[in-house]
């Protein structure tokens, strides 16, 4: 055994152990780690924010004369009108700007990558000559997607065969969830092993 003499390794190892201790019981050690973590996260975010305002907003405006950047700077400052009852409504301008950008980006993004791309990928031939397995898989794919989509109909009363289709859709969703769950286990255990490696290897020097 060859315990590390690097104080940073000690901090990392003790911090990890503190986080792990939470699964047994809430304890002072974990609370300290949690609060240090939250404080550090917020401090780091503030630093990044300061950096962003300076590099993206202030300097291009004052050094390069890009005066249009006064608009986002003002919108940013307006957020702080929330502290003053009389003018707090002005902070909604900044909020509605952010929401406008978000919805504009999202409409294109989700339609493009989630709807059209997925529809296209699912338009597969229902019969592949000389390949029974591919034919089977393609049929499962196309009719499976249809069944699950039928499950998501909200305002239509489903009856008869469509009702059966939605049950099949539900079963297929459960399989999907099971597959995702089972598939994730390995990746997450890898991360656990990574932390154990830091504790046993780098800190305690067991290997």
């Amino acid at each position: 055994m060859n315990i590390s003499s690097n104080p940073w390794v000690w901090i990392a190892a003790l911090g990890s152990i503190a986080i792990f201790s939470s699964m047994f019981k809430d304890n002072p050690f974990y609370r300290a780690a949690e609060h240090i973590f939250v404080g550090s996260g917020a401090g780091y975010a503030l630093t990044q924010a300061y950096r962003n305002i300076t590099i993206q907003g202030w300097r291009p405006m004052s050094d390069d004369g890009r005066f249009i950047l006064i608009i986002p700077l003002i919108l940013g400052v307006l957020l702080y009108t929330r502290f003053f009852r009389k003018i707090e409504w002005m902070s909604r301008w900044s909020m509605s700007f952010l929401i406008g950008v978000g919805t504009g980006i999202a409409i294109y993004g989700v339609y493009n990558s989630q709807l059209v791309a997925q529809l296209r990928a699912t338009m597969v031939p229902l019969f592949v000559a000389g390949n029974a397995a591919a034919t089977r898989d393609n049929i499962i794919l196309v009719f499976g997607v249809i069944a699950v989509l039928l499950y998501f109909l909200f305002t239509v009363q489903v009856k008869g065969p469509v009702k059966h289709a939605t049950s099949v859709g539900r079963v297929l969703m459960m399989i999907t969830f099971g597959v995702s769950f089972g598939n994730v286990v390995m990746g997450r255990i890898s991360l656990l092993l990574g932390v154990l490696e830091t504790v046993y290897g780098k800190w305690l020097g067991l290997f």
């Binding site: 986080i19 550090s40 917020a42 924010a49 305002i53 301008w93 509605s96 999202a106 297929l172 286990v185």
Partner: protein, 216 residues
């Protein structure tokens, strides 16, 4: 007016961002629709940065109140504030003294051994929580649960090397389940969610959904 201006801002900004994906229109000598959209995207970084300050004021106020009232566990609030202020000061010093090697090494070490390793430890906890969640949830109460359990077990045995020792078909089954039935559910849920996201965005853009804009 207090209500109309925000709705108008959302609509105009939203449409600019949206349409810039489809068409490009020259706007005056300096901008086109596309370059305007990317300009607006850049502004978001600046406005969001101001929001960090706003949110941090909330954090600081809540924890200073804990300390002032000496409520239980106030000592942890002290710890939180010390680290918050410490990081901020360190970060700003580093930003204005880019040539300082010592400062950079120190802040990198702080980042690696506090933010990174605490994050990694939290992330690693997921592995343990998977075990307890599986123990509690995967009980064969009904058909749904049975299917969920079956799929999970096959997948796990197909992934871990030990699975192939038990039955050499597990890896093959796992690969098939990943590429066929898994794809079915993934795609259909994604398509449905895309439609839902589209409708929600549309309602916001048109000012039909405006709970976030507060009262008159």
């Amino acid at each position: 007016m207090r209500r109309e201006i925000p709705i108008a801002i959302t609509l105009i900004v939203g449409l600019t961002m949206l349409l810039s994906n489809f068409v490009d229109v020259p706007l005056g000598s300096e901008y086109s629709l596309k370059s305007l959209a990317s300009e607006l995207g850049g502004w978001v970084i600046i406005i969001s940065a101001f929001a960090v300050g706003l949110a941090s004021v909330n954090l600081v106020r809540i924890h200073s109140n804990h300390i002032r009232r000496r409520s239980s566990n106030w000592i942890y609030s002290v710890l939180l504030l010390v680290f918050l202020v410490g990081w901020t000061v360190m970060g700003i010093l580093e930003f204005h003294n880019p040539e300082s090697e010592a400062l950079r090494t120190f802040s990198q070490n702080m980042f690696n051994s506090i933010l990174s390793s605490l994050g990694a430890a939290m992330f690693a906890l997921v592995a343990l929580y998977l075990a307890s969640a599986a123990n509690r949830a995967f009980r064969v109460r009904n058909l749904d649960a049975a299917i969920l359990l079956g799929a999970t077990l096959i997948m796990m045995l197909g992934r871990a090397p030990v699975g192939a020792l038990i039955w050499d078909k597990f890896p093959v089954m796992a690969d098939w389940m990943l590429s066929v039935p898994n794809n079915v559910g993934q795609r259909a849920i994604m398509i449905g969610a895309a439609i839902g996201a589209f409708a929600t965005s549309l309602r916001i853009l048109l000012g039909i959904e405006r709970g976030h804009l507060g009262s008159e």
